[in-house]
Amino acid sequence: MEAGTIVAGILTLAILSFLYRDNPVYKMAEYLLIGVSIGYVLVITWTNTLVSLLFEPLWTDSNLWLLIPFVLGLLMWARFHRKTAWLSRIPIGFMIGSGAGVAIPAMLYGRTLKQMSATITPLMDSSGVPDLSGLIVIIGLLTTLSYFYFSREHKGYFGGLAKLGTFFLMIFFGTTFGYTVMSRMSTFIGRMEFLLTDFLRLTN
């Protein structure tokens, strides 16, 4: 058996030991996982982003414009000193501002308007047969939105709409719960496949 399989198998069992209760073996594995994961992100960010987008073009091609993001990036380090900490807000402002700027059209056009227009579909087909599914989508959307509208008290007619909205929400939460259970089970099955096939070799 390969060394990698043995290591992976032992570490998998160490993590699974948490199911009995928290213990030092699990804790050791947990700390190792955090350390290795952060080391990994450092390597990938450095090699895949900073070297190819910044350092290579800056040193090799002498693209001095890149000093701007370089300096902005370095300003992030100013937050470690109380007196200079305010400087780190400049790159944060740059990122927050840019993010907000691109988010406006995306949220308006890419999400809200597109989703609204997709809801408004003909309620009858060309032969005059009503499209009940389309009607249910409209009712579901409007009643769920009513549920989230808090500027008016949920009473009377409006309260009834909001109440109907909760049923649509429950259907959605139930569906999502069902699919989430599937996902979690799949992950566990994947780990068991490794343990039974590669590590313990009990099956092919």
Partner: protein, 211 residues
């Protein structure tokens, strides 16, 4: 004094300018606007990468401090060893396939991380027994909807594999999707207004403290 004034005004001005530029360039096909867009997007990625490095450094600094204080020392030392080993391995052997860096990722990080996630399967099972109860009509609807999805995606044969998936797919495609769409639209409108508030400087929580 300069720091106090500039500490808020300058970042707000930077936020306003770049927010406005990135918003306006959406409407322009002019080569200058396209170039500016690409340049800012590149800079954004670089600055963001630096923030990741700062976060990583904070992890290192906190761990060293905690180790010197003696709290959870053996565990933290193992964590730090793992942290240092990854850049070292990458530095010596590179990041190609079949390098020690890849070996660590595939045999240490990925198995442990996916097993941590797999633990959730057990907690979901436990929660299903202890907390998933039809205490009211809406709760019963939620429960039935979840059970229907699970049954429809199980291969039991007969009606469960033929007719039920169609009913489940219809529920997913129409009533469930309608509620999700309403949530999406709500989040969309919320993000839209928050973005506007950030750009014009009404929303300032990202500035942190008051200096």
């Amino acid at each position: 004094m300069v720091g106090v004034l500039m500490g808020r005004r300058l970042p707000l001005a930077v936020c306003f300018v770049f927010g406005l530029v990135m918003f306006l360039q959406y409407f322009s096909e002019h080569p200058v606007a396209i170039n500016l867009n690409q340049t800012i997007l590149d800079y954004w990625q670089i600055v963001f990468a630096f923030t990741l490095i700062v976060g990583i450094f904070t992890y290192f600094k906190n761990n060293v401090t905690q180790i010197s204080r003696g709290s959870d020392r053996p565990f933290r030392l193992v964590g730090l060893a793992g942290f240092v080993s990854m850049p070292l391995l990458a530095l010596i052997w590179g990041i190609k396939a079949d390098t020690p860096f890849m070996w660590m990722f595939e045999n240490v990080q990925a198995p442990m991380q996916s097993t941590v996630f797999a633990l959730l399967a057990f907690f979901v099972a436990s929660a299903s027994f202890r907390g998933f109860r039809a205490r009211s009509l809406p709760a019963a609807v939620l429960l039935l909807s979840a059970l229907l999805m699970l049954l429809s995606r199980s291969n039991i044969g007969g009606f469960f594999s033929e007719g039920l998936p169609e009913i489940a797919n219809w529920i997913r495609d129409y009533p469930s999707m309608a509620a999700r769409r309403a949530i999406l639209i709500g989040i969309g409108l919320g993000s839209l207004t928050t973005s506007l508030r950030v750009i014009i400087g009404i929303e300032r929580t990202w500035l942190g403290g008051d200096k």
